[in-house]
């Protein structure tokens, strides 16, 4: 299989960008990636564009996002397709990019994810995200993704003894990292005192989906992120001398049952384990080789559960790593160095691309002061779709 390098990265700030047009946001991130790669003038070398987005039609009244974006950044006649895979759309688009290069259909690919969700009310936004659930057996009840996050957390607490304090510690750690990330939606620190121990904690950190609280879930965000990929055996690699290439050494995905109630053990996230296994196999690596990770913490419980499913910790033991500080920037396995979805934000179509943007930034040694991992070699990103029914794992490595 042809080796694929990431040769350019771009990002917009995450937050409330609802006054901007979705395609402008995606195009802005893409242009940042062109500049990072140093090919704005030579942009026509891009053979293929994959645009990851979920809600353009429902939230922004727009379709055909990939063709619109390709035209706005003057990439015609490049091939262009939109990719929709729920919250895992971004990493799915990256997977399509890797496959396009591996197959020989393209040499240079742009992968851009974007979402504008704050253009509608919170009520409508919640409904939009809930529509990825089973229409009859879940959505119609009024169930939402946070509701499943709450039920998952409850069961995890019961089985493994996880406490609310330990969950709050994950949020504190993520916000510590996010406070140093210039793209974060919520770039502020929070304290255990403030969100858990103080008499006002119930007000500051109110319950959303018991036992999950406000600081146990990600914000609703707008934003975009972009990557430029190139086949490492292509003569076009000569254009990319600006930055060291970072290799996509492994990528894998897997599905699980659409309805959560069909899972024998609701705490088992089989698609996470399998997608990671596939990525490890492709990279010839194992969990012990990973220097740091970006894990899809739409709900903080998922940071713990995913870190167990990908083999970092035994089942039920991830909580101990948080208490010991092992997943902090200076710990032995930093997790969510960007602030994660919790602090950086979660524009759903952009998230998977943004996670890999962070892997590249860390592997290049370009992360901001105070959140650069020491000498990382391999980073893992897990992008989690639905409530774990479609997951993509990506491993990036220093060349």
């Amino acid at each position: 299989m042809r080796k694929v390098a990431i040769v350019g990265i771009g990002h917009t700030v995450f937050g409330n960008l609802s006054k901007f047009d979705l395609v402008d946001i995606m195009s802005y991130a893409s242009t940042n990636a062109l500049d990072d790669a140093g090919i704005r003038k030579e942009r026509k070398i891009i053979d293929q564009v994959f645009a990851a987005n979920v809600g353009a039609c429902l939230l922004n009244g727009q379709t055909g996002v990939a063709s619109s974006m390709a035209s706005r950044i003057d990439l015609e006649p490049a091939m262009a397709e939109s990719i929709e895979n729920g919250p895992a759309s971004g990493a799915s688009a990256l997977k399509c990019g890797v496959m396009a290069i591996a197959s020989g259909m393209a040499d240079v690919v742009m992968v851009t994810g974007g979402e504008v969700m704050r253009s509608v009310t919170g009520w409508e936004g919640t409904d939009f995200v809930a529509r990825m659930l089973h229409p009859e057996a879940e959505y119609d009840y009024g169930l939402t993704l946070p509701a499943f996050g709450g039920m998952f957390t409850r069961l995890y607490m019961e089985r493994y003894g996880l406490t609310e304090e330990e969950l709050a510690m994950v949020a504190v750690k993520d916000h510590e990292n996010g406070s140093k990330n210039p793209y974060a939606h919520v770039p502020y620190t929070c304290t255990l005192e403030g969100i858990h121990c103080s008499p006002n904690a119930d007000i500051i950190n109110n319950v959303i989906a018991e036992p999950l609280r406000l600081y146990g879930m990600c914000p609703v965000s707008d934003g975009g992120a972009s990557l430029i990929l190139c086949a490492m055996d292509s003569p076009k690699m000569k254009y990319f001398k600006n930055k060291p290439p970072i290799r996509v050494s492994g990528i894998g995905s897997a599905t699980d049952t659409h309805c959560v109630h069909h899972r024998k053990d609701p705490l088992e996230l089989k698609a996470v384990a399998l997608s990671a296994e596939r990525a490890y196999k492709m990279a010839g690596l194992g969990p012990q080789d990973i220097s740091f990770a970006e894990l899809h913490d739409a709900f903080v419980i998922l940071e713990l559960a995913i870190s167990e499913e990908v083999g970092f910790f035994k089942r039920g033991k991830a909580r101990e790593s948080v208490v010991k500080g092992e997943t902090r920037i200076d710990g032995k396995l930093p997790i969510n160095t960007s602030g994660g979805l919790k602090a950086k934000g979660h524009p759903i179509g952009a998230t998977g691309v943004s996670q890999v943007f962070e892997l590249v930034k860390q592997l290049r040694g370009e992360a901001e002061e105070g959140r650069q991992v020491k000498n990382p070699k391999h980073g893992l990103a897990v992008n989690f779709g639905g409530f774990g029914n479609n997951v993509v794992a990506t491993i990036c490595s220093k060349e």
Partner: protein, 138 residues
């Protein structure tokens, strides 16, 4: 003159709430919601019933136990309640489902009874699902 007493207003009443599973005609497995292929034997369902069997509809409900639950305060569009309680329940047959809970203090393994009821009002087609209560004391 129209005899208003002869008009049968019953026909305007909403249909009886029922939640159906589907029974595989080959191996008898009941699944909810309806699959296209039986998980156990791979038999095929045809929603139109034209080319293949549409499978027998089996009303679901009855005794179940609570596996996990949440009290959700951030409800989606269309719900004006302060909060709603949801859970995943397991019926005596082993079949599981998501359900609305009508108990204020749920507990793990709690015995419940699921009945079909209105879960979402929709224009032209209301949605029915499982409403779970504590069993009545006999």
């Amino acid at each position: 003159m129209v005899d208003i007493y002869a008009v049968d207003f019953n026909k305007y009443r909403p249909p009886k709430a029922v939640v159906y599973g589907r029974k595989c005609p080959e191996c008898g497995t009941v699944d909810y919601p309806a699959p296209m292929l039986c998980k156990h034997c791979g038999a095929r369902r045809d929603p139109s019933g034209v080319e293949h069997s549409s499978w027998e509809k089996v009303p679901l409900g009855g005794k179940c136990k609570l596996l996990t639950w949440t009290k959700l305060y951030a409800l989606p569009e269309g719900f004006t309640d302060r909060y709603l309680l949801f859970g995943i329940v397991e019926f005596e047959s082993g079949l599981r489902a998501s359900a609305r809970l009508l108990v204020e203090e749920p507990k793990f393994g709690m015995s419940l009874v699921a009945e079909a009821g209105l879960v979402r009002e929709k224009v032209g087609k209301d949605a029915y699902g499982f409403l779970c209560r504590k069993p009545e004391k006999s």
